[in-house]
Subunit: 511 residues, 2 copies
C-alpha cells in the first residue's frame, strides 16, 4: 500500500482530500443543531461520497447531473403530490402508479446509448422522486423534504467542489494530454523493438498464448502498441470529463480542442495497427531466412530508427505543446523508406522462387539463364549465410530454417503457458490429399522469402500512415494555439530555417 501511494502521490493527495471533505461535513453536522436539517444530514455526506471524483471534470459532470436530477425530480414529485392530495382515498394508489410510471420511463431512457453521459443524472432523478414521495407522504411535508434535501446536497456539493478544486486540483484534461503523449513513446519503442527483433531473427521460444488470445502480457514489444490500441476507451472517458473543465494552466480558451487530442490519439492508433502487423511478422509461422534479412538489414533498420524518431519528436511536441519547427519532419523517414524500396527492387530476385515459375516463354527464358548462372547464384547465397545452416543439398535453406524454428517452438508446446499450436505446415503433413513432400517444401520456401517483402511493405505502410498523425497533430497545434518552437529563426523565410534545422538535425544524428 505504501509503495502504491509513493508510485503516484496524486492518489494519496486525492485520498487525503476525500478525508478532509468528509471530516468537514461531519463537523458541520456536529456544530449546527436545527433538528430538521440534521435528520437529512445523510444527504450531504452521500453527496460528498458520490460526487467527489478523482478529476475535476468528473466531479463537475457528476455534480451537474446530481443537481439537475434532484431539481427536476423534486419539482415533478411536488407536482404529483399536490395533484394527489385532492383525491382523498385514491392518494396512495396515485402515488404508487406514478412511481411505477416514472421508474419505467426513466429507466428506459437511461438505457438509450445517447443518454450514456447522463446515466447518473437519471439515477438521481429516480432516487429523488421516490424519496420525496415516500418521505413526504409519511411526514405530510412534501415541500420541506424537497427543500431541505436540496439545501444539504448543495452544501455537500459546495464542500466537494471547493476542496477538490482549491487543493491540488487533478485535471482530466491534463491526464488526457499526458496519455496521448505517452502512447507515442510506447509505439516508438514497439516499432524499434519489432524492427530490431526482426533483424536479429528473434523468435519466441514459444509464442505466449496470451498474445494469441489478445490478453495483456508483459512482453515489451507487445505492451507498447497494445497500450496505444487499448487507450481508446480511456481517451473517450477522459475527453468526456475534460470538456467539463474550466480553462486552467496551459489550457486556455473556453472551447479548448480536447477532441483533437483524441483525434491525434486515434491517428496514432491507426499507425500502431501497422506496428501490430509488423509484430505479426515476428509471430508468424513462416519466417524469412536470416541471410535475406541481412541483405536488407541496413535499410530496414534506418526506416525503423527514423520512424521511431518521428514518433518520439511528435510525442515530445505534444508534451511541451510546441508547434512543428518546419514542415519536413517526415523528410528523413520518407528518404529512408524510399531507400528501402529501392533496395528491394534491386534485390527482388532474392524474394521470389525462380524454380517454380510457370512455363510461359518469359519465365522459361529467365529460368534458362538461372540454370546457366546457377553456380554463381549459389556462391552468392552461401556468401551471406550463417555457417550453422549448412544442410541445404538443393538450396532449401529457408525451408530447413522454417522447419527448425517450427520444431523449436512447439517442442515445449504442451506446457500450460502456451497453446498447442499445431499449425498449418505441420497439419498438412498428415492430410490425406497431400501433394509430394518435396513440392510442399518448396512452397514454404518461397512463402518464407516473400514474407520479407511483406515486412518491408508493412514498414512502408507504417511510414505512409505517419502522415495522418502529422496532419492530426497540425490541426491540434493550430486549434490549441501551441507555442512556436524556439529554434525557429525569425529573420529570413523558409529556405534558411529549413537549412539550419537540417544541420541541427544532422548534428543530432551523428553525435
Amino acid at each position: 500500500m505504501w509503495a502504491f501511494a509513493r508510485a503516484d502521490p496524486r492518489k494519496a493527495v486525492f485520498a487525503a482530500k476525500v478525508g478532509l471533505a468528509l471530516a468537514l461535513i461531519s463537523l458541520l453536522v456536529f456544530l449546527r443543531e436545527p433538528r430538521d436539517i440534521v435528520s437529512h444530514s445523510v444527504w450531504a455526506i452521500l453527496t460528498v461520497v458520490v460526487v467527489f471524483e478523482f478529476s475535476i471534470g468528473a466531479t463537475l459532470s457528476k455534480g451537474f447531473n446530481r443537481g439537475l436530477g434532484t431539481l427536476t425530480a423534486g419539482g415533478l414529485a411536488l407536482a404529483v403530490a399536490e395533484l394527489s392530495k385532492n383525491l382523498g382515498k385514491l392518494e396512495e394508489v396515485i402515488l404508487i402508479i406514478s412511481t411505477f410510471i416514472v421508474a419505467f420511463s426513466t429507466t428506459l431512457m437511461k438505457l438509450h446509448p445517447k443518454m450514456k453521459p447522463y446515466e447518473y443524472g437519471f439515477r438521481v432523478f429516480l432516487l429523488t422522486f421516490c424519496y420525496v414521495m415516500v418521505s413526504g407522504y409519511n411526514t405530510g411535508k412534501f415541500t420541506d423534504t424537497a427543500v431541505s434535501r436540496f439545501i444539504l446536497i448543495a452544501v455537500g456539493a459546495a464542500v466537494s467542489l471547493g476542496i477538490n478544486i482549491g487543493i491540488y486540483p487533478i485535471w482530466a484534461g491534463e491526464d488526457l494530454h499526458n496519455l496521448v503523449a505517452k502512447n507515442f513513446t510506447g509505439v516508438a519503442k514497439s516499432l524499434e523493438g519489432c524492427v530490431d527483433g526482426y533483424l536479429k531473427c528473434m523468435e519466441y521460444e514459444r509464442i505466449p498464448s496470451k498474445i494469441l488470445v489478445y490478453q495483456a502480457w508483459d512482453d515489451p514489444l507487445y505492451s507498447g502498441y497494445r497500450a496505444a490500441v487499448e487507450a481508446s476507451a480511456q481517451e473517450e472517458t477522459l475527453l468526456g470529463f475534460a470538456i467539463w473543465e474550466p480553462p486552467h494552466g496551459a489550457y486556455k480558451g473556453m472551447n479548448y480542442p480536447w477532441r483533437n487530442f483524441t483525434k491525434v490519439g486515434g491517428a496514432l492508433r491507426h499507425c500502431s495497427f501497422a506496428v501490430m502487423a509488423l509484430h505479426g511478422c515476428i509471430l508468424s509461422e513462416i519466417q524469412a531466412p536470416p541471410e535475406s534479412r541481412k541483405i536488407f538489414s541496413a535499410e530496414i533498420h534506418r526506416v525503423g530508427v527514423e520512424g521511431a524518431k518521428v514518433l518520439r519528436e511528435l510525442g515530445d511536441k505534444i508534451k511541451t505543446m510546441t508547434k512543428l519547427s518546419s514542415s519536413d519532419i517526415l523528410a528523413e523517414v520518407h528518404l529512408a523508406a524510399e531507400a528501402l524500396q529501392k533496395r528491394i527492387d534491386e534485390k527482388s530476385y532474392l524474394l521470389v522462387n525462380i524454380e517454380r515459375w510457370d512455363t510461359s516463354k518469359q519465365a522459361e527464358g529467365i529460368k534458362e539463364v538461372i540454370n546457366g548462372t546457377g553456380i554463381v547464384a549459389k556462391e552468392k547465397k552461401n556468401e551471406v549465410m550463417e555457417p550453422t545452416i549448412v544442410d541445404q543439398t538443393s538450396g532449401h535453406h529457408s525451408k530447413s530454417f522454417a522447419v527448425n524454428s517450427f520444431l523449436s517452438r512447439h517442442d515445449s508446446a504442451s506446457t500450460v503457458d502456451s497453446f498447442k499450436l499445431l499449425s498449418w505446415p505441420a497439419r498438412r503433413s498428415f492430410h490425406p490429399s497431400l501433394p509430394l513432400e518435396d513440392d510442399e517444401s518448396k512452397t514454404y520456401e518461397s512463402a518464407s522469402a516473400l514474407s520479407l517483402a511483406t515486412f518491408a511493405s508493412l514498414l512502408i505502410e507504417f511510414v505512409a500512415r505517419l502522415q495522418n498523425v502529422v496532419n492530426a497533430f497540425e490541426e491540434l497545434s493550430d486549434k490549441a494555439k501551441f507555442k512556436e518552437p524556439v529554434e525557429e529563426p525569425v529573420t529570413t523565410g523558409e529556405g534558411d530555417g529549413g537549412f539550419l534545422h537540417k544541420i541541427c538535425r544532422f548534428v543530432g544524428i551523428t553525435s
Copy 2:
C-alpha cells in the same frame, strides 16, 4: 423512444421490472407504520435504485458489494463509537479524526487497480461508516441506526433480487455468449468484403478521416472487424458479471468456463487484426495494378470464401454450443491458401521489377533474357490489361494507375469530411533533394507490384491465425461440455465420417 423499445424488448422489460420493484417498496413503506423504520425507509429505495442492474450478474455483484460494505462499515463504526463514548469531551474530536482516517485509507485502497471490481463496495463502506457515525451521534443510538439501516437494505436487496431473477431474467453470461458468436459473423463479413473489394479494385473516393483517426464509422468493411476489436472491454465487463451468476439454462455446472469465452473472443481478435491489415491494403496509397490482381483473383477469392466459411461455422458452433464435427474444419482453407501460395510462386515474376535489379551476374543474366523475350512479355501483359489504361510507353502502367488513383482521391480532399492527406509520393515531388522523376516513378511502380504480394501473404497469415481460434474453441467446447454434433455417424470411425462430411460440404458449395 417507442422504436428504441421495440428494437430490444429486453430493455422495456427491464424498465418495467424496475418500476415494479420501486412500486413494491413504496407499498411496503405505506403499509407498515413503525415510525423508526419508516424514517430510514430511504435506504430500501436507495438500494433498489442502485442495485437493480440490467443483468443478474451485475445485480448480484453489486448486491454483494453493498452487503459486505454495509456490514463491515457498520461493525467498525459501532466499535469506534463504543470506544469514543468513554472519552467524554474528546468524543467529537475522535469521531472527526476517525472519519478522516477511514476516508483516507478507503479511498486509497479503492484506487488500487486490483480493487477495481470492489470499487462500489468501498464506496458503500465509506458512506455507511460516515452515516452511522453522524446519525448515531445525533440520536445517541448507534446500534439502532446500524441495525435498522441494515434491515432496510436487506429488504431492498431482497425485493431487487426476487423481481430481477424471478421475472424474465437477463443473464450477463448469455450476453457474453451471444457477443462472441456475433463477432465471428462480423469478422467473416469484413474478410469477404476486403477480399472482394480488393479484387474489384475498390477504392475509397476519399478515405473517410474517421477511419484514419480510428473513430466509429458506418463503412461495412470497417465496422465488422472494428466491433470485434473493440469488444475487448465489453467482454471483460460481461465476464466480470457472468462469473457471479448461478448455473442457468444451457450453462450448467458450478464453475462454468466463462473465461474461455473471452479467450475465444481474444483469439478471434488476433485474427481480426489480420483482417484489419488486409483492409489497410485497400486504404493504402500504393496500390497494385488491376491487371495483376486479376491474375491471382481466383485463388485470393477462394481463400477469402473459405476463411469466411470457417469463421461462420465456428460462430454457428458457438451459438448452438456444438462441438466440431470433425477435426478438419481448416482443411479446405489450408488447401486454398496453399493454392494461392503456389500461384504466387508461379507468377512471382509479375511481382518484381526486373529492370531495376542490381548488376550482379545472376541479375544481369536474367535481365538479358528479359530483353530478348521482351516482346513476348509485353504481349502477355497487354493481353490482361484494361483497355482504358493504355498510356504506357515504357510499361509504367502501374505507376499511371497509382498516380491516377492518388489524384482522384485527393481532388476533393479539402472537404470537411476528409483529411488533407498530402501523402508520401506527392510530398516527394516538391522535396529539394529529389532524385530524377523517372527514377522515382519506377520505385512506385515496383512498390505497387509488391503490394499484391503483401495482400496475399497477409491473407495467408490470417489463415494461419485461424488455428488459434480453433484451438481456443476446442478448449472451450471441452471445458463447457458442448454437445456432440448430430451429423456424426456413430457406426464406423474417422474415415467414413470425414468422407460423408466432405460430401455434405461439397454439395453445400455447389448448390
